[in-house]
Symmetry: C2
Subunit: 177 residues, 2 copies
């Protein structure tokens, strides 16, 4: 038995787009964009980054962030990811940015946060978790363009409490480095 | 042939949550929260609402909004929905709110917009499209709680250009009227 699943593209009745359908049973797999929730977590004047233990981009640095799960709010998702990846309990303070990576149908909601309790450590998806002063951030070893964008938003909003969340830099669509 | 599709819940290898799997072929249907993109469109001092031609909540009033499609940014989705439901070409001006309805795994990004071109009319999913002065809005015939929330955010932000997007009112999770 192979996991075939929906493999045939067809336009369902009453729809106007091709959807993946299962040739065996007619099941329609409606594919939706995926939401990522994450955070820029500051500790004093330093920023928490996680070195990825998993693909894609294993071995390089990222923010605690990941796919939103069912029945979660984005804030809950960002808090869960901070725990899973950095064993950090965070307090969210503002929505820093809404980034889009349309090529891979991803929308990222990135929050600004601090530690709600002291302490952090590498979760199962991280090799290590470290605090970096701004000038020590490993800019050449960030996992995704949107990590850089989020850090730039964080820096631009330091000291501000009510602001419109940032979006992709002009012309940038989040393609890989 | 019946459209059975994935019907059995099981925890895939390396995962920590139950996912729907197909008993015939082993396909795993990863279910993700769905994103809704929409807008509060103002025309002069009036606000555009659409009377729904489809379930759920057929016959009552809503904002132009709907599920984000693959490879869309939320702004593109809001513009597409305004066209589909109200035959309106809109210009987005700000992110008004990020609402969550965790019971149905929905996150809504609601923008503030104006008409980019004059004119609007009912699209196939609307019975009619109308402009309402604030006091004439059919408050008792709005389709979803989040329509009310979005209108309240719109009103609260009139004249403001840089603000943090709103979230659900305290204690509200978007359950149906």
């Amino acid at each position: 038995m192979t996991a075939r699943g929906p493999t045939v593209k067809a336009i369902p009745d009453g729809d106007d787009r091709e959807r993946l359908t299962c040739p065996d049973c007619g099941f329609i797999a409606y594919e939706n964009p995926k939401m990522v929730a994450g955070s820029v977590v500051s500790v004093g004047e330093k920023i928490m980054l996680c070195r990825r233990a998993i693909e894609p981009r294993s071995g390089v640095w990222t923010l605690p962030a990941g796919y939103l799960e069912l029945n979660e709010t984005p804030e809950e998702g960002a808090m869960r990811e901070a725990w899973e990846e950095a064993r950090a309990r965070i307090a969210i303070d503002a929505l820093l940015a809404v980034f889009s990576v349309p090529r891979i149908s991803q929308v990222q909601l990135i929050y600004r946060a601090t530690l709600a309790e002291p302490g952090f450590s590498a979760g199962p998806e991280s090799l290590e978790v470290e605090l970096f002063a701004w000038d020590d951030i490993p800019w050449d070893d960030l996992a995704f363009p949107s990590v850089r964008w989020a850090l730039d938003e964080y820096k631009a909003r330091l000291g501000q409490t009510a602001f419109a969340p940032g979006v992709n830099p002009p012309g940038m669509v989040g393609d890989r480095f």
